[in-house]
Symmetry: C2
Subunit: 383 residues, 2 copies
């Protein structure tokens, strides 16, 4: 087991009506003027934004709204939010939405008090040493951003989708998690979210670090739970317990508890971010295509940990059988497993393969470091 | 799944030389004058206290020492610590030791800034609304106090051993966890610690709450890991990875992650606290006697959840077989499973049984509420 730091200070308030505690929690964490960040559409029509605003107002908290955050958020919306937050002298950023909204809100929280260009942090030019506190009302269980110190933003000009990982500043102070808010999530988005959760665990699980028994046991348990519960959620979208189970799995998948002491991989996320950035596909659906290809490549070149994964997660006797069951499960929940099924007909392999190495470096990934030849082979397996 | 709040804000710094970061972490969490609390003996002789003091001094942090905390800490040592902390105007309490030291330090952290008698909190007369920040250098993996908001203190005059649970104030800000510090733990204490960990998970696992799939999966995984790794630790006390695995299991067993959304039980801890308070036995060894008796009673009167436990934790076909394997495992790691083996020859059943209800109330426990008749039957099963 490697040395590690596990720091997940978020106050998770989980259950029915959790969003009504927004005012309380904002005040507990020192907020008085909130920048309220959301996408729009359903959150407004469903009355959720009104309920959150009422809770803030009843607590005597001021607010400015920034709506219009889109999936795969860009630097453009972040700049808008920073401007709005500064104008208001916001002292807390509250995101209402899923990973995209939260990730954009995190970038705003870092950018509002920073004198330079927030992209400095994502470009690796500067390290965040202060950010406004961040709160979350979660509506899409998937990205795990409510419990992580990470934020993914795409720079429009360069098409670079950059994942920033921070130990402290970008971890939300609180997350309000009401499973009922996820009843209306479309099946495709629900399934893509579940796939994203599995991927977050697998990026940690596939490691060469010896003696990761605890993290493995926790990760396997959460993976099996996701695999069991996702079909139940799809069959009955308003099954409270099933929705609750899936929602909490999404947090555990990415707050770090499944990777304590492991050297983590994250190559598959790197490969997928290119698909999202170039073809604007749903991140989780992209992972449904990337991960089986990555696993297939590993089964041929570095199968070590795949045996345990196949046995303990899929009750399979071999990596090949485990991968087959994983793909069958993905299909059963309506996920694509090839680029074509993902809707990418004109896949430009060489451009994407060059670009992924421009973004991630000549070689990336820890389980089996990937150079250009290996990533090309993995992209080919997606076709 | 019930509504829940999961808040585990402790910064866990885990690995070799973790104790050398004491100065850094104290400063990160705003400390400048530390009350350094420890037991004595081995922590001093091994040079650990000197290393911690050097780290504090190098960081420019002032300190006052309070040594002499004993197992099953009493209000007397807490009063001493409060006096020392006030004299020094301490702004952070740093515990070096195991659960007893940490629990005493927590009581001091609440008591130093409080105008009244700190026992008010343990007697349920007052709720803590402020406490000094608490840091930990862990030397005994068992109680999980490094990641919990709990503190157990015994009042000498009444012999009441009271467990205080708080959501916020008593959770340590940081915990420095170096598995090497546990190499010298005697086998008996190591095994008692492992038993305590299992008990912490079982107190949460045995619940009537439906749909606790995630918490069950995590808890079962950590239980199986404890069961596998404890014999390895006993066979090779300086096996770093085995010690590290057991140490981290102790934290996960009690920081709340194994009970998210469950109504928890805690009856067995109530039954055991009487044994510790009256006969001064090691808490974990007491639990090794209490839990099999509690399980045996439940197998006869409310076996529901025991089937899943037997199957998933012990690969057993029935509760009886699961209990038999649990007892065999306890014996294999040198734990007692009867009061006599625990060294209690003159067990005064009626006095203890009356006293447990004075402390815990007429009826206690959630899985199957226990009145005086039921607790008597369970105590009888320990003989």
């Amino acid at each position: 087991m490697n040395n590690f730091e596990f720091y997940s200070p978020t106050d998770f308030v989980f259950g029915r009506d959790a969003e009504l505690r927004a005012g309380d929690l904002v005040k507990r964490f020192g907020g008085s003027r909130v920048l309220l960040v959301y996408g729009g559409g359903h959150a407004v029509r469903s009355g959720l934004i009104d309920r959150v605003k009422q809770s803030l107002t009843e607590a005597g908290v001021g607010l400015t709204e920034l709506s219009g955050v889109m999936p795969n958020p860009t630097d453009e919306i972040v700049y808008k939010g920073i401007e709005a937050g500064r104008a208001q002298q916001a002292d807390l950023v509250l995101a209402v939405g899923g990973g995209s909204t939260i990730d954009a809100a995190k970038a705003m929280a870092a950018g509002i008090p920073y004198e330079g260009d927030f992209w400095d942090f994502y470009a690796g030019k500067k390290t965040i040493d202060f950010a406004l506190p961040i709160g979350v009302v979660l509506t899409i269980p998937a990205a795990g951003s409510e419990g992580s110190g990470n934020s993914v933003v795409t720079q429009v000009s360069s098409r670079k989708k950059v994942s920033l990982r921070t130990p402290y500043w970008l971890r939300p102070k609180f997350a309000l998690m009401n499973p009922e808010l996820t009843y209306s999530l479309p099946a495709y988005q629900t399934a893509a979210g579940a796939t994203d959760m599995l991927a977050h665990i697998m990026e940690r699980y596939f490691t060469n670090t010896p003696h990761t028994e605890v993290a493995d046991a926790v990760g396997e348990g959460v993976m099996r739970t996701i695999i069991d519960v996702t079909p139940r959620v799809l069959a009955a979208p308003d099954d409270y317990d099933a929705r609750a189970t899936l929602m909490w799995c999404g947090t555990l998948a990415h707050n770090g508890i499944c990777g304590t002491g492991n050297e983590e991989d994250w190559a598959s996320h790197g490969l997928e971010h290119e698909l999202s950035a170039f073809y604007n596909v749903t991140h989780g659906a992209g992972l449904a295509v990337v991960f089986p290809a990555w696993l297939t490549y590993m089964s041929q070149h570095h199968p070590a940990k795949l045996h345990k994964w196949a046995k303990n997660v899929w009750q399979a006797d071999s990596p090949a059988e485990g991968i087959a069951r994983f793909k069958a499960w993905l299909r059963s929940i309506g996920m694509p497993t090839t680029l074509k099924e993902l809707g990418i007909d004109n896949f430009d392999l060489e451009t994407i393969n060059n670009h992924v190495h421009e973004t991630k470096g000549e070689v990336f990934g820890a389980y089996l470091p990937l150079d250009k030849e290996r990533t090309r082979a993995i992209y080919q397996l997606m076709q």
